[in-house]
């Protein structure tokens, strides 16, 4: 197979000029330029540990899942920086290819493949902390449009809460990040210290698709194919969100905000209707819930737009967003991954200016409290 990982000669086409309206991109994935890029912030003990033992997750392979991606690094092949390094590793190239031409006034960083999900609790915490330092040093301090996520070792909640408290009040951090496929459903009490710390810090908690918590990635075992895993994020995110609602974290933590990232969003209305119906039928099981589930969703949960579902006709998606509320959806590109949504074409359906503004910028500004 003719796989070319290097940039082609000739100019890289970028989007239109930045006379485009300002947007927020609520899911950007910065990547280390080299495997040892976190070393400045990793104690020697962990650098040595990584050298010898690697960073085992609850997965069989040392590196990469047993569902190989469809493209190397799951990245767009046109996002390889001209100076080298993997897609997403060069701030300069990210600015030139994406942030500047697309007029990204607010970009939320969600680094993946860091300490999260690592089986060794202390290693997980150490790498999360190092990555958080790296986000500030290499990204947010150099481009004021960008905001970082507090990466936490979410399976080790004491350490996770401590990491949140460490960064609380730091202006560069917009949210706490966890992955969606956790060891137990995200509403489970064992994760509550994370929500407590996040609320104390005034930070939303973003749940980003992926992670390997140890259970099969579906309720009926392991599917065969990558396409099934990708489609399946909708199911695993529904499971985590259902747990959050039904376990009552929005009652326990009334200021908590949750962002579902890279899970798609069109599943949200029917999910809310089903939650409401079942909650109503089984009301005596959950006396701690004082409101309908869909009301909790309406007030506490946001969804990023990518991967955007593509109904035919496309206008059916407007019904979906009407049902969710136009204040619920946050535009995101998932740069530099494949499955990138170009802001100019992403929502190519007739909507009002107010709806367009909400979707592309205002919702994010309001959620993250940014003046931009």
């Amino acid at each position: 197979m003719n796989v070319e990982n290097h940039p082609l000669p000739g100019p890289v086409p970028t989007g239109a000029k930045s006379s485009r309206t300002a947007i927020a991109d609520c899911d950007i994935h910065p990547v280390r330029s080299q495997p040892n890029a976190f070393d400045p912030w990793l104690p020697a003990r962990w650098r040595a540990h990584l050298q010898t033992y690697g960073a085992g997750r609850r997965l069989g392979m040392q590196a990469g899942p047993a569902y190989p991606k469809s493209q190397p690094n799951a990245a767009r092949r046109d996002a390889v920086p001209p100076e080298g390094g993997p897609p997403g590793s060069s701030l300069a190239f990210m600015q030139a290819q994406h942030l500047d031409p697309n007029n990204v006034a607010l970009g939320i960083l969600n680094p993946l493949q860091t300490g999260q999900g690592i089986a060794n609790p202390e290693l997980s915490a150490a790498i999360c902390h190092a990555t958080n330092q790296w986000q500030v040093a290499e990204w947010t301090s150099k481009d004021k449009r960008l905001r970082a996520s507090v990466l936490v070792p979410y399976e080790f909640t004491e350490a996770a809460a401590a990491e949140i408290r460490h960064w609380a009040g730091h202006k560069d951090f917009a949210q706490v990040l966890v992955l969606s496929r956790t060891g137990e459903p995200l509403g489970n009490r064992r994760y509550w210290p994370i929500y407590e710390a996040a609320c104390e810090a005034g930070l939303p908690v973003a749940v980003h698709a992926f992670g390997y918590g140890g259970a099969p990635i579906s309720s009926t075992g392991w599917p065969s194919h990558y396409i099934e895993e990708m489609t399946g994020h909708a199911q695993s995110c529904q499971a985590g969100l259902a747990s959050m609602v039904i376990e009552g974290i929005f009652e326990r933590f009334p200021t908590l905000k949750v962002v579902m990232v890279e899970a798609g969003f069109a599943w949200a209305p029917a999910f809310g209707w089903r939650l409401d119906k079942v909650w109503e039928q089984l009301r005596t099981e959950t006396p701690h819930l004082r409101r309908k589930p869909s009301e909790y969703l309406r007030e506490h949960v946001w969804w990023t737009s990518q991967p955007m579902e593509e109904p035919e006709p496309r206008t059916h998606l407007l019904d979906t967003i009407d049902w969710m509320g136009w204040d619920r959806v946050l535009f995101a590109t998932d740069y530099p991954h494949w499955d990138f949504d170009d802001p100019a074409l992403a929502l190519a359906v007739p909507i009002t200016d107010a709806q367009r503004k909400s979707f592309f910028l205002e919702n994010a500004k309001n959620l993250y409290g940014v003046q931009a």
Partner: protein, 137 residues
């Protein structure tokens, strides 16, 4: 329509491709075994740069578990969402059943019009004149 001399043939050796701007439009030129093919560089789905996609072969199957691999190097996949396009014809494999039954015409046009989207990448006719790659647009 006008004739554009794009580049000398040795600038695009077999198995490679290059991006040009011709009459203000980005055009990707591919060399398949000595034959040149041109394509409007924007994927008809959402505008991804086709020139930057993986070039691969065609994978077909008559039955689950069977993988028939052919036409190595003749399919380009859009780097954004992976849609497959036949470099020779612009035909997309993203919905094989619909393509089998649906006819399309490949034509070039003035301006930025894309033909019969979203299942066809607009091709441009390319020929060689005395060691130069020439495009009619």
């Amino acid at each position: 329509m006008s004739r554009h001399v794009v580049a000398p043939t040795n600038e695009i050796p077999p198995g490679t491709r290059k991006l040009f701007t011709i009459k203000g439009r980005p055009i990707a030129i591919f060399n398949l075994d000595g034959d040149y093919f041109g394509m409007f560089n924007r994927c008809p789905h959402q505008g991804g740069s086709l020139c930057h996609g993986t070039v691969t072969g065609l994978v077909e199957s008559a039955t689950p578990g069977e993988y028939i691999y052919s036409r190595k190097g003749e399919i380009v996949r859009c780097p954004w969402h992976g849609w497959e396009f036949d470099i020779r014809t612009g035909k997309s494999y993203c919905d094989p059943d619909r393509i089998k039954t649906r006819s399309y015409t490949v034509e070039t046009a003035e301006g930025a019009k894309v033909v019969e989207g979203p299942y066809v990448a607009e091709t441009v006719p390319v020929r060689v004149e005395e060691n130069y790659i020439v495009v009619e647009m």
